[in-house]
Symmetry: C2
Subunit: 250 residues, 2 copies
């Protein structure tokens, strides 16, 4: 019996959710509401002490970190649809891409998402309410990020993150102009983990991600959105909190 704790089909939560749908594995959906800070509540910190989603519960054991969960599903369900190559070299290629999302691509997109959406959420609270929320956040760096979002991220930080987003988008597009998938020849966790961050950028970052400037990236985003598992997932799972649905990319 599997349970996925998530914020719904976007950003890091989307990675294991899409892997579960692609693999055809049944699981219970537990959606947390970020606007209610449910991920920092005691009941959830008993599941993931870091107070972060996604987390996968598997018969009493808990796996955290979105990319680790995806690999776990490959290891634990070897007879389901494969999203990881068998060949060791192709598997390494896949991991260079999933590592890059986690260490570079997701952070710059995340900061802009926080600037656009989380800042407002934090500013709507009174000082006392905000401090009470922050006190419940177990990871210090996340406390800092909430404070920055409330105060307003410094412009030089936003500029730097936008620069990194432009670099990221170009890197993906260049590869995808010549290759159907990130690892040549197979739809893998590299695609799923990058799609989780890139999908929606054609709306929220349309000045960078569009048919003229990044045709390879747009083709790949559309191709993944057209997959049966992806269509089923988006039809079945709604994000509980959506500020501006098409632009949300937190």
């Amino acid at each position: 019996m599997l349970k996925l704790y998530s914020f719904g089909p976007g950003a890091n939560s989307l990675k294991p959710m899409l892997a579960l749908y692609e693999k055809g594995l049944d699981y219970e959906q537990v959606q947390l509401n970020p606007a209610k800070f449910e991920h920092h509540s005691d009941w959830y910190k008993a599941i993931n002490p870091r107070g972060q989603v996604p987390a996968l519960w598997d018969d009493g054991k808990v796996v955290t970190e979105s990319t680790v969960i995806c690999e776990y599903l490959e290891d634990a369900h070897p007879t389901a649809v494969k999203l990881r190559p068998d060949d060791p070299f192709e598997r390494a290629e896949m991991r260079v891409w999933t590592k890059w999302v986690d260490e570079y691509f997701c952070w710059c997109v995340s900061t802009i998402g926080w600037h656009r959406y989380v800042g407002k959420m934090a500013q709507d609270l009174s000082d006392a309410e905000f401090e009470e929320k922050v006190a419940n956040i177990p990871v210090y760096e996340q406390q800092v990020k909430w404070r920055r979002a409330r105060a307003g991220f410094p412009q030089d930080m936003l500029d730097e993150e936008m620069r990194k987003i432009a670099v990221s988008v170009k890197k993906l597009d260049e590869h995808l102009r010549d290759n159907e998938w990130l690892v040549p020849g197979m739809y893998t966790l590299a695609d799923i983990c990058n799609f989780a961050i890139a999908n929606g950028m054609q709306y929220g970052f349309a000045e960078l991600v569009n048919r003229d400037d990044t045709p390879g990236l747009i083709r790949w985003i559309e191709q993944i959105n057209a997959r049966p598992a992806v269509k089923t997932m988006f039809a079945e799972v709604q994000r509980e909190i959506v500020h501006e649905k098409k632009e949300l990319n937190v």
Copy 2:
């Protein structure tokens, strides 16, 4: 036939080198000299376009990123000594630790190492020599890091990195007081990848890593150093450039 391109047995280069020794795999040692900027030379960028070590050459194919190389060795040599658990959940636990080194622990230690040792190397060059070196660095963020090292890292950045180092050391120590290895019951890539960064901190960061404050971490560092493969590796492989051997942790 395997070849490992590295800076020798320290920091990220140490991860795959130690995995190769523990697994008993023969390989050719190719050591690059960071003080000569050999990793930014054209011949090396033909091997790894990002101009970073380590890189593993395996019969014409090149695997990059230290942690990815370690997992590659497990995948490609399944009959050699195992450094990765078979159980999917334990494997996920291992990956949470290797991911944490790559995303958190290694960066704070690296910045202080650059501040202490690389800054001097950069300052010894003339402006023209320095600009010529920087122009050869393919990753923009590394260019920025070299410029910061030459100018001197801002004190608030150094303070923040030292804070993160203290957090990291405490996290490792708390776990290792109650557990022989990071993944309970087995010496894995989690130990190797964390040891690669932690070893030497008992000298270079003695105010934080010592027998009184971090007995679990010290016990684990000593236990790994006492392993036959580790002793053989350090005896056979010397780092070409060593400013202050005991403290070097770049």
